[in-house]
């Protein structure tokens, strides 16, 4: 049989991230997603004769911010270039991009895959404008230019990714960082984060790169690994059958689960890049770079480290809580209110995430706030309610926005810890269950659970379980 270990996979990713600016890259049109076709356009982004581009300073700032967060070198001197090709969704017949002198060079992304640290180096980050969209229906083909001119960052990795799993981890990590920086919403389904992959394989132990293919149209997280696995498998099959890989662009076909040839190297465009004469070279001064640096928040890796060291959280918890800026902020707010970090983490990763997912609510929109949670944790720790009741209180808080104190009072959920009162109930249960009592006394101690359950039924869950256990042991023992 084929020995797949004979080959090593080489993957480089190009991520296109739509920037969350209010206006487009080179004009003042809004960038809102999903508007009526061609309602967010002007002579500049439609490419009318005689109009000129003007750089969106916020887009430049976002790109520099991203570059700084990824440890890139920020070029003091960079320039835009024209990438020339004909397509109906490209109104000027060229895309304004960067070519020879991008704004950011170098940098890296740290990954943790299966417990191992991996550093993926970046080649560059550059700015460019998005194209519009071609729409085909029964009536013919149409062009919607609302998206034309929306600012994009293209983040290019070195060909250092070795497995589809690493590739997916890389995209997830970049997405997290972009969202932390608030420069991109990271929504792959809406196309605000797009991923093209360059894939080749080579005999293990060799240095020379194999012939690569470029995979486009990977528009969901789910498909990154699938598309890459398919393509690697395809290339291995071709090589093992004595064939040759053709340098080409391939499209990921989501429904068929395969990559399909789109165009070969011979059919590739000659983009005829040249410096954009309508824009002067960009000079970025150090003062502004320092300003932008100050605006960078604590990033996920630093947070994870801090959560582990300062709050003694397990790595798993830290990782999950730091994965989204809003989740981390929620957690940190709760911690600042004085509750135990691990208790907070348990509630968040369990009940809170479950309910947020079920109801499709963003954590920052939840009416259950860190104040609510800390109130609940306090009621549990001081013995006012037990954990089981707490879970129902939690859900009620989530649904109503009322505090734990209010709900406990309203529903009379205060835990019964009074030994005298509990003893009476336990005696009653023993009296009503002669069979079980006999079996227990004969050594079937696992029946403790049955007795506790019966006590809980009679107290509507309010009995302090610890106290009940002790009483049972004493009365049956």
């Amino acid at each position: 049989m084929k020995d797949y270990n004979d080959y090593e996979t080489v993957i480089g990713l190009e991520i296109h991230a739509q920037m969350r600016t209010h206006s487009k890259m080179f004009c003042g049109c809004p960038t809102t997603f999903g508007s009526e076709p061609n309602t967010q356009t002007c002579p500049v982004c439609i490419g009318m004769p005689g109009v000129l581009p003007v750089i969106n300073k916020t887009a430049l700032e976002f790109t520099i911010k991203t570059g700084l967060a990824l440890s890139c070198r920020i070029s003091p001197f960079s320039r835009f270039a024209r990438k020339n090709y004909f397509y109906p969704d490209l109104p000027k017949g060229y895309q304004i991009s960067q070519y020879e002198l991008p704004i950011c060079e170098g940098g890296f992304v740290m990954l943790n895959v299966d417990g191992a640290e991996r550093r993926i180096n970046l080649t560059r980050i550059h700015m460019e404008e998005d194209a519009g969209k071609n729409i085909h229906d029964g009536a013919g083909s149409h062009v919607d230019l609302n998206r034309a001119g929306v600012p994009l960052m293209e983040i290019v990795s070195e060909p250092e990714i070795r497995t589809p799993k690493e590739a997916a981890a890389y995209v997830r990590k970049l997405r997290t960082i972009l969202r932390y920086l608030d420069v991109c919403d990271g929504n792959m389904e809406e196309g605000s984060l797009r991923c093209d992959a360059n894939v080749s394989i080579r005999p293990r132990g060799t240095e020379a790169l194999g012939v690569k293919t470029e995979i486009k149209n990977i528009n969901s997280f789910k498909f990154i690994e699938k598309a890459l696995e398919y393509e690697i498998e395809r290339q291995r099959r071709v090589l093992s059958e004595g064939g040759r890989i053709i340098q080409e662009t391939r499209l990921w076909n989501t429904s068929a689960g395969v990559t399909e040839s789109m165009r070969s190297k011979e059919e590739a465009h000659d983009y005829r890049y040249f410096p954009e004469p309508d824009l002067v070279p960009l000079m970025v001064d150090d003062g502004w770079i320092s300003e932008i640096k100050k605006g960078i928040p604590e990033l996920p890796d630093d947070k994870i480290r801090r959560y582990i060291e300062e709050f003694k959280l397990p790595a798993y918890d830290a990782d999950l809580l730091a994965s989204e800026k809003q989740t981390a902020a929620w957690f940190e707010e709760a911690v600042s209110l004085g509750a135990n970090p691990k208790d907070i983490s348990n509630w968040m990763m369990g009940e809170l995430m479950r309910l947020l997912n079920e109801k499709a609510i963003a954590i920052e929109a939840s009416q259950l706030t860190p104040v609510h949670l800390c109130g609940l944790i306090k009621l549990v720790s001081d013995g006012t309610i037990n954990l089981k009741i707490a879970k129902t209180v939690f859900e009620d808080m989530f649904n109503t926005g009322k505090t734990a104190g209010e709900l406990v009072k309203e529903k009379g959920l205060v835990q019964i810890s009074d030994v005298g009162e509990l003893e009476k109930t336990v005696e009653q249960v023993i009296a009503e269950s002669p069979n079980e009592t006999a079996r227990y006394k004969a050594g079937e101690t696992k029946l403790t659970g049955f007795f506790v359950g019966e006590v809980m039924k009679k107290t509507r869950g309010k009995a302090n379980p610890k106290a009940v256990n002790e009483i049972l042991k004493r009365l049956l023992g």
Binding site: G50, P88, D278
Partner: protein, 483 residues
């Protein structure tokens, strides 16, 4: 005197003194257009007379001191956008194009109170030196209707020369204001690259294009330049410098001004009469107190080659937007590629296609370094030539064109010969410096000859001052074509 004969300065003075109503001036100019444009063909679109008269009628006699072009009828080259006015670039591909926006220049002219007469003819997309490349018709030279008016701003120059407007606006990528001004015996100024906003000017070669005035006198050029110059947030390549009152620099004095004469601009094969007349004009300036110095611009010989690579490269990209998808001509084909091909094949003329192909080739993978990059390096050397020369002199004087106006059809079969008619104007665009062409005499066929004065970056004041002093002394501006 007929009001249409007036200069801007004269018309403004007459309006200010209540001697001339803006409506009477407009009436005179529009009647002139009706009378002779059939022969000259300067305009592609003439503004409806009743609309212009209505606009002029609203303007009060007596003028407004803060509006230097109050009631002045002016023509605009048909490659500058005016909201609601058809803008064709003399191309079939934009035959029905009506822009929904104004160019910055026409906005500024509006604020200064001008009255639009119409849009003037040009070589298609400003590519040419004779207006013979217009997609519609060829403009005739008012001095000799069998000859070309020069180009590409031939319509604007002819309209000024034939008094079919008081002044006009042109654009200059390699000589397109100065060469037709020279051929038509009027003044043409190409400002420093970046002095006048290009917003709304349909791009030919973005790093070379500049808008400027074509006028009857240097003083008028100064007046118009003060109106249209200035930084514009819509044009990132425009310079945000203080704009002087250029008319104030017209002292009439040449004493102590150092004028450089580059050896490389008096070449074998140039018209002897042109050389004699230009040298005589320089001698006149010397008599007026200027100091004449011989200088060198050693890379001049490479200018035409570098220009035709850079200009066509940029053009090949700038003209990609005319694809039949969004506006302008669409000739539907069997599929998308076919529609592109048919639209561009029918919409563009021969010269435009030639330049798109040249530029596409020059930018192609594998050729970029040998052509485009090399040409940019040559451009830097040419710029340096001027920097060095301007350490020695204030102004450089050369002929504007090696010949006077040639016959219509004379050079249309030989693009290279046509390209060489811009040999003296092209370096100026590559260097980005300002230059003006002013009438300096006539040849034996009574055709005007132009003197080109080149200045330092953003020192339009010096060339206006020198040109004005010479012009007042020589008085050639008084001679007009007898059309």
């Amino acid at each position: 005197m007929e009001p249409f004969r007036l200069t801007i300065a004269e018309a403004a003075a007459a309006i200010a003194k209540n001697e001339l109503a803006p409506a009477a001036l407009a009436e005179s100019v529009f009647t002139r257009i009706e009378a002779i444009d059939g022969k000259v063909g300067a305009y592609i679109t003439v503004k409806a007379k009743d609309l212009a008269m209505e606009q002029a009628g609203r303007l009060l006699t007596g003028g407004q001191s803060d509006r230097p072009l109050y009631g002045v009828p002016m023509a605009i080259k048909d490659n500058m956008c005016i909201k609601g006015v058809r803008t064709t670039c003399a191309s079939k591909i934009l035959e029905k194009f009506i822009p929904p926006y104004d160019s910055t220049v026409t906005n500024k002219l509006d604020e200064a109170g001008y009255i639009l007469t119409g849009k003037t003819n040009l070589d298609e997309f400003a590519m040419g030196s004779s207006t013979e490349n217009s997609g519609y018709f060829t403009t005739k030279n008012p001095w000799d209707l069998s000859r070309a008016p020069g180009g590409s701003s031939g319509g604007s120059a002819a309209a000024v020369a034939a008094d079919m407007c008081i002044a006009a606006i042109g654009s200059d990528t390699g000589g397109s204001i100065r060469q037709p001004a020279s051929f038509c015996g009027v003044v043409g100024l190409k400002p420093t690259y970046g002095l006048v906003s290009r917003f709304g000017l349909v791009a030919f070669a973005s790093s070379l294009d500049q808008i400027g005035p074509i006028t009857k006198t240097v003083e008028d050029a100064a007046i118009v330049l003060s109106v249209i110059a200035g930084g514009d947030h819509k044009d990132s390549t425009s310079a945000h410098t203080d704009i002087p009152n250029y008319a104030a620099s017209l002292t009439g004095d040449l004493k102590g001004m150092k004028i450089g004469i580059p050896q490389e601009y008096f070449i074998d094969g140039m018209d002897k009469e042109v050389e004699t007349v230009v040298r005589a004009a320089i001698a006149e300036m010397e008599k007026l107190g200027a100091e004449v110095v011989s200088i060198k611009l050693p890379h001049t010989a490479y200018a035409v080659a570098a220009y035709y690579i850079i200009a066509t490269s940029e053009a090949s990209s700038n003209l990609a937007r005319y694809d039949g998808v969004k506006y302008g001509l669409r000739v539907s084909g069997s599929d998308l590629i076919d529609t592109y091909k048919e639209t561009r094949a029918r919409g563009f003329g021969q010269e435009v296609k030639r330049r798109i192909m040249l530029g596409t080739y020059a930018l192609s993978s594998g050729y970029y370094d040998a052509y485009y990059k090399k040409a940019q390096q040559v451009r830097t050397l040419i710029k340096r030539d001027f920097d060095e020369a301007f350490k020695l002199v204030d102004v450089i004087a050369t002929p504007t064109s090696p010949t006077t106006a040639f016959k219509i059809g004379e050079k249309t079969d030989d693009p290279l010969q046509m390209y060489l008619s811009d040999i003296f104007t092209i370096s100026v665009n590559l260097a980005g410096v300002p230059a003006i062409s002013i009438p300096c005499g006539f040849d034996s066929a009574n055709l005007p000859i132009g003197l080109q004065l080149i200045g330092r970056h953003f020192n339009e004041a010096a060339i206006l001052q020198a040109g004005h002093a010479y012009e007042r002394h020589a008085g050639w501006y008084k001679r007009r074509p007898s059309i």
